[in-house]
Amino acid sequence: MDSWVRLSAQSQAKDRLFRTAQYACTLLGYTLAKGGAGGELLAKVKQLEGHLSLGRKLLRLGNSTDALEAAKRAVHLSDGVLRLCITVAHLNRAMYFACDNVLWAGRTGLLPKLDQDKWSQRSFRYYLFALILSLTRDAYEISLLMERESRAGGGAGKISGGSLPSSFQENGELLPNAVTTERAPLLGPLSALVHRRLLLLVTVLRANPPLTLDLLKNLLDIFIPLDRLGLYRTGPGFVGACGLTSSILGLLTMVYPWLKLKP
């Protein structure tokens, strides 16, 4: 109960909860439509989804200011690449919220002559740019950690060396189901390098849950603007599933603040 009280006191947490419910409705609507459910139930789910969407737009009024303040703070980061990625991501987010606020005004009736489709496309474009920059930041952090890990581990040799013993029987013969780097020299140096890099990537991701969660969240979120902008159409079911999963991951970072990637 204390966690709930703490969570619901934060505006962002409420938005995440409503986002989870909204994408759950999207996924449910798709599932019901596929399953041949009645029109009334589908209409209810669609109405709820629309209401949650408009409610979230209302809740997001003023978020542009928040994003601009975050951009101002990010300008002082010491690392050049992080500074660029995070600042520009926040600026894009501020533009996304500004377009979102205009859409709210249009849907409420304050701006009846607004071209909703045009502004919706605009907002998704800014959202896509913000996600691309967030993914760039994640990739940069991963590459730094992989480099650090490979230096600390003494390079690739130790990683491949570590897997050798488990793939050999006591009499020195290769185990039949062994997938080892013993085969790497047979496949070629490129495959060996890829294998080593993959192992390093898995090691880094396992040791850094906040980075892994952020990467996963951004990868899931990117399908939403890609679908809405027509760049990579997946379908409402897939968009709903991605949105729902990324919302749950976002909620996790609020319930367990240590899982949030900083800065």
């Binding site: 709930w4 619901s8 409420k14 209810k44 949650l52």
Partner: protein, 245 residues
Amino acid sequence: MDSYIKLVNQSQGRDRVFRATQYACALLRHLLRNHAARREVLEKLRRVESNMSSGRKLFRLGNTVSSISAVKQTMHLSDPMLQLCLTSTHLIRALYFVCDNILWAQSVGLLHSINKECWSRAASRCYLISLVLSLARDVYFFAQVTAWAAQMMEHQKKPLQPKSKAGEAACYPLLGSCIPALIYKGLKNNPPLILDALKNICDLFIPLDTLGIYETSPGMVGLCGLLSSFIGILTLLKPNLKLTP
């Protein structure tokens, strides 16, 4: 800017800002009601007000749990009168949120067969009772503060008493004219109490009008709602102005 960010990051802060906007729209609609040329503006104000109201109902989902959690805390207060007032207030507020959530479900289309008018009146009744209990707590605090002020004044007059009986007799006529001074002295150092009482009095007009107990006008309701929302925002921006517990 930092204060604004801190305010809107709190769920309650955003709700107060939206509430202020909702009642500002209600007040403006009342003021412009006779301007035929402003029909379009009136319609826009009505839509914004309606959107804010339904949005706030959405944000209040789950507030029942927060109220019940607050009950668990107030049950451990040492002062029995405060314990009674605050615990009852939070319980009634939890009931209000339940009614409010049902009304939200009806507005969204999840529940069709409920009597909206009946649940709306139930919500207004719960809101009224919670405000009356909050005012009872303010009156209790006010009585304590006035008693304290009276004690302070008695301490200041004490040196006169051993010297002359005339001084003692002179105290009693003074007490009659001391009461406004007592009230003033008591309240002067308690801005949180004044603000809380003012907020509750302003809020009281809303359910009184809705339930038809004391009908005013949409303009008066708008003005009272706007004032109480401003006071609520002030107590969030400056936590030392919030009456505790």
